[in-house]
Symmetry: C2
Subunit: 688 residues, 2 copies
Amino acid sequence: MLVPFFNPKGVAVIGASRDPHKLGYGIVRNLVEHRYRGPVYPVNSKATEIFGFTCYKSISKVPDPVDLAIIVVPAHFVLQVLEQCGKRNIKNVIIVSGGFGETGSEGKKHEKELLSKAKEYEMRVIGPNCIGTIDTHTPVNTTFVVGMPEAGEIGFISQSGAMVAAVIDWARGAGVGFSRIVSLGNQIDVTETEMFSIMVNDPQTQVITAYIEGVNDGRLFMKEAEKAAKKKPVLVLKGGHGKSGAKAVASHTGALAGSDEAYEAAFKYSGVLRADTMEELFDWARTLAWQPLPKGNRIAVLTNAGGPAIMAVDALERVGLHISELTKETRHYLKQRLPVAASVTNPVDILAGSGPATYAVALDALLSDPTVDAALVIQAPQDWFLPASLAEVVAEVAAVHDKPVLASIMGKASVDQALTILHQRRVPNFSFPERAASAFAAMMKRKHWLETPNHEIDKFTNINPKEAEKAIEQHDFENLLESYNILQPPSYLSKDQDEAISCAKKIGYPVVLKLVSDELTHKSDVGGVILNVKNAQEVKKAYTRILKEVKKEHPQADIKGILIQKMLNEGQEIIVGAKRDPQFGPLIIVGSGGTEVELLRDIATGIAPLTPAQADQLLDQTQAGKRLKGWRNKQPADRLSVIDAMLRISKIITDHPEISEIEINPLFVLPKEQGAYAVDIRGSFNHQ
Amino acid sequence: MLVPFFNPKGVAVIGASRDPHKLGYGIVRNLVEHRYRGPVYPVNSKATEIFGFTCYKSISKVPDPVDLAIIVVPAHFVLQVLEQCGKRNIKNVIIVSGGFGETGSEGKKHEKELLSKAKEYEMRVIGPNCIGTIDTHTPVNTTFVVGMPEAGEIGFISQSGAMVAAVIDWARGAGVGFSRIVSLGNQIDVTETEMFSIMVNDPQTQVITAYIEGVNDGRLFMKEAEKAAKKKPVLVLKGGHGKSGAKAVASHTGALAGSDEAYEAAFKYSGVLRADTMEELFDWARTLAWQPLPKGNRIAVLTNAGGPAIMAVDALERVGLHISELTKETRHYLKQRLPVAASVTNPVDILAGSGPATYAVALDALLSDPTVDAALVIQAPQDWFLPASLAEVVAEVAAVHDKPVLASIMGKASVDQALTILHQRRVPNFSFPERAASAFAAMMKRKHWLETPNHEIDKFTNINPKEAEKAIEQHDFENLLESYNILQPPSYLSKDQDEAISCAKKIGYPVVLKLVSDELTHKSDVGGVILNVKNAQEVKKAYTRILKEVKKEHPQADIKGILIQKMLNEGQEIIVGAKRDPQFGPLIIVGSGGTEVELLRDIATGIAPLTPAQADQLLDQTQAGKRLKGWRNKQPADRLSVIDAMLRISKIITDHPEISEIEINPLFVLPKEQGAYAVDIRGSFNHQ
């Protein structure tokens, strides 16, 4: 149903104009200039003819075939015109006109009216306040932006019209082709998420790129993005990382997993590759559209000069790629064929005196080497052969191997023809070789994501839903954890010193004394925790000291008692937390626990519900996860128990939408097969 | 004396050729085409005339004036020709010919002969295996590379000829001007370091850029780079970060402060700004050459579209810059003058309908605002005014304010004229606004470095040089630290259990038992450390256990005894180390100590001798340094004692060239004003 936006049978432009300074002129001009083959119907109450097309007084007068209307009239006419489109039975409408949600609450109200009108007539609407759509293969260009990129394989979805204008202008200059481009404007109806399927189903689009500033429905976005990414690479540039105003939060998890971490986790989960800059976005897009994915991370570098190769190797190693060692056979073969002084170890330097033929022989040998997964060909400027000849040779050799080849024919003044050839023959070129490294890394990321198996979420045993419900009613996170079978050190709440001593006796020394208070959640900060208490006398002292310390600063604090807990030794401290993100729902964090979590910021963020594989990967991203495997004289800890706790926390927040945050810090992890204990737990509920 | 390389009175080309495929042709062509105004003397035994110049059979026949010779004959003739130059009394020689050190040890030998010949005749030599020199203002171009950049303010020193060729080609295409360019080749005589002074003393050069793969004399490099950086920005792209083969090292310091960390520390020390890519190098160079340094880090962003401004703000905040809030007056003024729907808070969005006049008014207001230190002007492509007009306006407004202005007139196809104007008028432009952020950040780094006062190295008290000498003779690092007045916890070496008990009594419980062995330096790893030993019986047990544990794995280990040491509580663990880098001499590291230093890698590296201010800055770069200031319930520690220990370690390694590494780990830092104790010390000496 969205297809007519990119392949209409006929297009009406309501608000078409003869005045070159009006947008309604540019739209008709673009339909004509970029050779839309269907009928074009300008609608304008005053003119009789625009660009040679008969002009219609009203959309109701426009004859068949017409299935797309572009509205570019002043804001206060839009609703009325939209209704006319509905009556004329046009199901696809692009509203270019601005003056709606972007201007404030009054404008937002008008958007609601537009949407309900659209629903009434079963119309789909892109915009308002947008630039429109381009399909270079149909071809159709419903925008007013001057120029159009060449036909190509890159689809681009943008929440910013300016980015579309910038990309069109840049693409024309750089000779990079696009398949479809869409500017979504205020998104009252069609959103970025829906556009994924439109791009995936377009046979011309090989790579989907998007500039987004936010998503409407995080989980739906993830679902559709993942579905798309299974078939085609999805690359996103996300605007607005910025420091979101730091709100007061009850837990570390809240402070550590901000909006940007949520997007990051959602992108990773869905296989969306996130670029940091526009340049990177389209470097990656060209590479993924044009070249096959590598089978591994071993790169061969072929060059005619040392300096640029060194820069390339540095950049490749920085992003975790390897410089292949090459087989003895390849080195031997190269030795025979290259100049005497050439380097036949990787990077292979054929020296300044070698031309396209030598490049051809060497590149073919490198791509035939089983220890090479991909190649980067570098040419420092020289003046004795045409860079274009090298472009032809590289493209020809690359085409007969199924390994990715990237080029860096360096320079600017002398290389235009070479770049045109490379781009036509689908070998991406980078004016400095360092940039190729990030493109290779993007390929590897995609490969890894595609290869990660789709684990099912575990079926859990040992969960007591009834006890859980009761614990939640009572806002009792300790019992909640117990009902989900997350181990806690034995502990009792005591109301006075004598009770404390008898509790300690039951548990066995040494013990820990901990303040219990709903108000003071960061207990250590207020002197509310005393460790390693060894006998009755020490319990007495510790009890008095806690009360004294706490009352000094917080005389009014509501103290529920002192918890007596088994003291655990020789463990590693981990934080495991969950919070509900407004966009993406429940997130899980894990990392180095203890009192310094916010100093260390050794944290990974994932999306709940977690699979065991995902939990494992998250742990691997942190130093804490590495330390759990054993470090120096620290023996390996019970990593599996940490993963189990993560999965159960993930299950808790998934099962109970009323919980907004829950956090174990520290989760005290004992040596292998001895378990992990939730020593301290805090959480909070959604405010109803 | 190096000036004739860039401003010769007459140039002889020995090996000049009439064959366009020979380098000796390209050199004469470039002298002619790029309008060198002095006499050119081709030397060629066969030809009579090249490019209209009379040809000479030998350099001895060349008449005055001639003070620069370019040698481009086969390698085996070079020595002989060099001697002829010496006899002809030419003091400056560029050897373009290759076939020397780059081919192996034979070639290296020939280089030595060349150098001694040069010394004999007091000649200065650039090369061999180089591309030569360019001065766009003289003008003179002694290279064979096609084309020459426009005259400009950027000087470029390169250890790679290919990088020079690439930069020339890129600069011509991008319209970026250069003042001087030099390719240094194998550097038998003139080095990168010497070139700094030549660039600093050139009035046309405003910024010095360099591509280097290594330096000959690290300390001299630092001295000259610092001298240069005090006067002009010095920017370096360093090739070859790569993993240098990890050698076996005795200490953490050795593993943590590799060659790249040494370069990084040396660059920071000398005020050299290190770029990561060629693009970044020249983005920064243009910016620093053309625009004044900002007074602070508050940026105003002026745009005609939201999306690109969001990307810019993200990038600016990522590198630590602030988006100015603007004064009420500025916002009020803008409110009156901009379209109703415009955003008058920063980023200021004048909307797509605004033209160059609106930009002019808004930019002038922003640059007049006292809360704005610099401005970034963004233009998303539009088709109703010429980008060139905006370029004119931006350059004009920028010129009357003393604040830096960067531009991002986006796109490629439509902006050529605008970019030419901006570059002519010295406003750097970036095709996507994100790139401007890194240029602003480079400016801020330079500003901070220039403002850091030059502290004198402290005069130390309480050092006992005689004791130090004795300790070094005995390879006794504990006594060495004592002689430099670095505190250590009271301790005694015991040879058996009884002695251990009596030592412990003298010190007072609790104590720590530690294996002493020259071979086993990582004691904890072999079970050689037992903490918190509380009485005589525990001493006995611990003693036996250490010996048993150690002998299990290392039955042959040379055990000198067990150290009994005062157990310290409630401190923070820091590592302070020093090592001698082959290039840059003594380095100091500091960071999070304990057994996990290599896992945490929370380390900063500096150059010895340290000033107190430098030590303080190093500490500030680490989490450990932040933690010392107090964190959550951890009280502030004795940070000054850490700085004192760093300065004393710096003094030790500076005073004693025979020490190759020395390391305190942990330095146990007690609460404020209670001192810091070197709990464990290791070190090693240079192998003689």
